[in-house]
Each structure stands twice: as structure tokens, then as C-alpha cells.
């Protein structure tokens, strides 16, 4: 089969779009924390890009998509990508795009999934331990789960991951990305514990414009995330683009309605959060439902998450930036919604079969991710430690960990301070 340049061009662009979502997450999260920890928040996302990229091209791609006898993981060998330059992509069928492009596209998913988790552990995490967590979690949790969900095997479907083979519908990662990251976020925050001053101090977002900029980049990049997953420039990709837009817009509206009725004010942070909730919910469903159903999926996602972000105060866990309340909850809803709105789903056929299959996929990934993450986090806590010292946390993780401060807003010319040491690394 020859390479199709139209399909290839679209997936090339989509790959870059999905990469852009990781700095998008950095800005989205960075704006939501206090000024003393914005840099650390952003660095957690950037570190994910560094670590996961190297792991993925070394052996991660093989673990997720390599040929194997089992439906639980790919092959344990080096990916050896240099020898694959003339291969086309085979994933449950032949796609006329280079295999190396599929490798790059899927890499961006691996990066953002672990970056999403960082929102739960803002302000207090030891950066070196986060780096270790990113590597270990990707290998033990993400690579296998990507195999379960995204590996459709050879042309005949042989060697597919077990959830894919079972017919669980997850087009772009409602389970593998969002439920996975959300469940991991819950486990990690339970192990690491609450921030000093949780439920006592005001922890206002220090920059809502940054949050909005991040949400805008996520919204933009998500078209590549969802429609790029078609691996073709075709009708499925177009449906994915349309549904993605409809759900994001509807969830924005849904979240704002809840805020207006409950709190008396519609907020900017609510709008940005609603967009993300809608994008998460439509991710698994973006080619599985009609655009009219996407309105319902989006509205419910926005409204549901607007309530779900309050759960942490009731149950007293410090999921700082609501990774659980947005990604886990909207991921679950979107995955289950397929069982309702799909043409094989409850509304069309009256049968619960698909809904039950979707629930099985969701619960499996949720449980696997939660349990394994809990163990990884606990072992890290007992060995290298997960938290910075109390003094560092109060002073601000930016200064104590990175020796930087985000803002030097000062009317004195050149800002404050004097150059006090040797300039290291000077040629």
C-alpha cells in the first residue's frame, strides 16, 4: 500500500496539535495556582515531555503497540524505530500513513496523560520524585493501558489489546487518557496528602488570563487529539472535529448555568473548566455519536463536573486543580454516554449490552490505574520521599526547588537585587 499524502499531512498536523496541548496544560494549571508555585506547576508538564519522549522511542512504543501473544501488553524489546522508515501503519487495518508518524502521534498522548496528573499535587511535590514517578507510571500504567485500548492488532485484528478486542469504544482516549489520569491523580493525592492550609487559606488562582490561554490551547489542540485519531483525512475525522466543538461549547454553557443558579455568578474559571470537561467527555465518543447527542454529552459533562469539583471538600482530599473532578468524572461520563447515544446503545436498541461493555472498560482502567498508582506513589514516598519540606512549601516551591520566581514586577529600573555570585558555565 502506498503512502497517502492527504492522510499523512493531516496526521502530521494533528501530531503537532496534540503536542501543543501539553504546554496548554502547563498554562491552564499554572494560572490556577498561587504565584509562588506557578513555575513548578509548569515544569511538571515540561518534565513529562522530556521523560516520556525518551522512554517512548526507546521501548515504550513496543510495549504499547508491539506484536505479542497476550492482549495485555505489546512486546518487551527495543522499539528499533530506525528500521521502520518505509513501513505503513497497521492497527486493526491498514492506514496509508508512515508507521513512524503513528509512533510520533501516539507519543503525544503518552506525554499529556501523565502531565494531566500533576494538577492534583500542586504546590508540594518534590520535583525529583515527580520525574521518577513520570517514568515509572508511564511504563507500568500508561504503556499497558494504551495497549489494551488503542492496539487493534494486525489487518485481521489478531493481537489486539483486550479492551479493544472486547469492543469497548474509546476513540481517542476517554479511558486510556482521562480515566487513567484521573484515577492516578486520586491515588497520588491520597498518598502525598493535603497542602498546608487546605480548606483554611484562600488559594485563589493567581492568573485567570493564563488559565484561559491554556484552555484555548487545549481546545485548539484537541481537534488534533480527537480528529487525528481517525488516522485519515476523511468523514470520521470531520465528524470528530464537529462533535469536539459541539461538546466543548455545550459544556461551557452547562457549567455556567450551574454556577449562575448555584453561586449567583457565572465565572471565567467556570467557562474554562467547562470547555475542558466537554472536551474530555467527547474524547471517547467523538465518532460514535451524532452531533445532536454531543450537545447532551457536553451539557451534562459541564453541569456534572461543576458539582464534582466540590467533592474534595466533602471527602477532604486535596485534588488541588480538580483532575478527579474534571478528567475522571467527565471521562467516565463520556465513556458511558457511548452506551446510551451510540446507534448500538440504549436509546436506539433498548439494549444494555454496549453500556455494560463501556462500564467494564471504564472500571477496569480506573481500578488498574488507581491501585498501581497507589503502590508506585507509596513506594516512592517510603524511599525517596514525595513532598518538599514544610518551610519550602510555605516559602513557595518555585524558589526552593527551581531557584526562580515567576514575576519580578517592580517599578525600580531592572527590578530588585544585585548579581551576587559567579556566572556559572560562562565560556
Amino acid at each position: 500500500m502506498d503512502i497517502n499524502s492527504g492522510d499523512t499531512a493531516w496526521v502530521l498536523i494533528s501530531t503537532a496539535l496534540v503536542l501543543l496541548m501539553t504546554p496548554g496544560v502547563a498554562l491552564f494549571y499554572g494560572g490556577m495556582v498561587r504565584a509562588k508555585s506557578v513555575l513548578n506547576m509548569m515544569m511538571m508538564s515540561l518534565a513529562s515531555a522530556a521523560i516520556v519522549t525518551m522512554l517512548w522511542v526507546s521501548f515504550g512504543f513496543s510495549m504499547a503497540f508491539g506484536d505479542s501473544e497476550t492482549p495485555f501488553f505489546g512486546s518487551f524489546e527495543l522499539s528499533n524505530l530506525g528500521s521502520l522508515i518505509n513501513e505503513i501503519t497497521v492497527n486493526g487495518g491498514e492506514f496509508p500513513i508512515p508507521l513512524l508518524l503513528f509512533v510520533a502521534f501516539q507519543l503525544m498522548f503518552a506525554i499529556i496523560t501523565v502531565a494531566l496528573i500533576s494538577g492534583a499535587i500542586a504546590d508540594r511535590t518534590k520535583f525529583s520524585s515527580w520525574i521518577l514517578f513520570v517514568g515509572i507510571w508511564s511504563v507500568i500504567v500508561y504503556f499497558p493501558v494504551a495497549n489494551w485500548v488503542f492496539d487493534f492488532g494486525n489487518q485481521n485484528g489478531d493481537g489486539a489489546g483486550w479492551l479493544a478486542a472486547l469492543g469497548v469504544i474509546d476513540f481517542a482516549g476517554g479511558t486510556a487518557v482521562h480515566i487513567n489520569a484521573g484515577a492516578a491523580a486520586l491515588a497520588l493525592t491520597l498518598v502525598i496528602g493535603r497542602r498546608i492550609g487546605f480548606k483554611r487559606d484562600a488559594m485563589r488562582p493567581h492568573s485567570l488570563p493564563l488559565v484561559l490561554l491554556g484552555a484555548a490551547l487545549l481546545w485548539f489542540g484537541w481537534f488534533g487529539f480527537n480528529a487525528g485519531s481517525a488516522l485519515s483525512a476523511n468523514g470520521s475525522a470531520a465528524l470528530a472535529v464537529l462533535n469536539t466543538q459541539v461538546a466543548a461549547a455545550s459544556a461551557l454553557a452547562g457549567w455556567l448555568v450551574v454556577e449562575r443558579v448555584r453561586d449567583g455568578h457565572s465565572t471565567t474559571l467556570g467557562a474554562a473548566s467547562g470547555v475542558v470537561a466537554g472536551l474530555v467527555a467527547i474524547t471517547p465518543a467523538c465518532v460514535a455519536v451524532d452531533p445532536i447527542a454531543s450537545i447532551a454529552i457536553g451539557m451534562v459533562a459541564g453541569a456534572l463536573c461543576a458539582y464534582a469539583v466540590g467533592l474534595k471538600y466533602r471527602f477532604n482530599y486535596d485534588d488541588s486543580l480538580d483532575v478527579v473532578g474534571v478528567h475522571l468524572v467527565a471521562g467516565l461520563w463520556g465513556t458511558l454516554a457511548i452506551g446510551i447515544f451510540n446507534s448500538d446503545g440504549l436509546l436506539s436498541t433498548g439494549s444494555f449490552d454496549l453500556l455494560i461493555r463501556q462500564a467494564l472498560g471504564a472500571i477496569t482502567v480506573l481500578s488498574y490505574s488507581f491501585v498501581l498508582t497507589f503502590i508506585i506513589a507509596w513506594l516512592l514516598m517510603k524511599t525517596v520521599g514525595l513532598r518538599i519540606s514544610e518551610e519550602s512549601e510555605i516559602e513557595g516551591v518555585d524558589l526552593s526547588t527551581h531557584a526562580e520566581s515567576a514575576y519580578d514586577i517592580d517599578t525600580r529600573i531592572g527590578g530588585s537585587g544585585t548579581l551576587s555570585g559567579i556566572i556559572k558555565g560562562r565560556a
Binding site: R204, D263, H265, L269, G270, A306, V309, G310, Y313
Partner: protein
Amino acid sequence: MKLITAIIQPEKFEAVKAALLEADVHGITVSEASGYGRQRGHTEIYRGVEHTVDLIAKVRIDIVTTDQLVDSLVECIVKAAQTGQVGDGKIWVTDIEKLVRVRTGDENEAAL
């Protein structure tokens, strides 16, 4: 010599500045300030959680003037800054021991 320090509502700053110019005041020092008095704070909402913001933005004006002019300037600021609501601010007057103009080294009344 006296130092007049006025804490006023930020939205009244332009009116006060205009009134002081009218009264022939040559120099003022302005800084952003925050604090609370009887007005207390206001409420902000983030993801459904109410935060009480105690400290409210104010503008602080410092003016050095002669003993003769002090009462009329205070009156002038009060007139320009007053809305009658809580949060209008405070003005206090303190004695100045010594004043020096940096450019010339002139002291006290000559430095005004």
C-alpha cells in the same frame, strides 16, 4: 511643616489629584495600598468556593505642606474623595522634623 497622608478610594484618585492641582500643590507622592477598615472585604468565587478577600485596594497620597495650608488641603481632599459610603478612607496629619531637597540641599521651608 506637616505631612498629610490620605488613604482614598482608587476611583476617587483623579478627582483628588485635580482638586490638589487647583489648590496649587506642587508635589504629591502616590502609592498603591491595600487594607481594611469598616468596609471589611469582599467575596470572590472560584469553582463554587467562596473566598473572602480581606484587603481592598486603596490609593495612598503623601503631601508635605506648611502649617498654614494644612487644614485647607485636608478639607480639599475630603471634599473631592467623599461619597458618604463606608470605605471612603482616612486622612492623618503628622509633624515633620526636617525636610531636604535632594537637588540643592535646601532645608525645611525652602525645600517645599
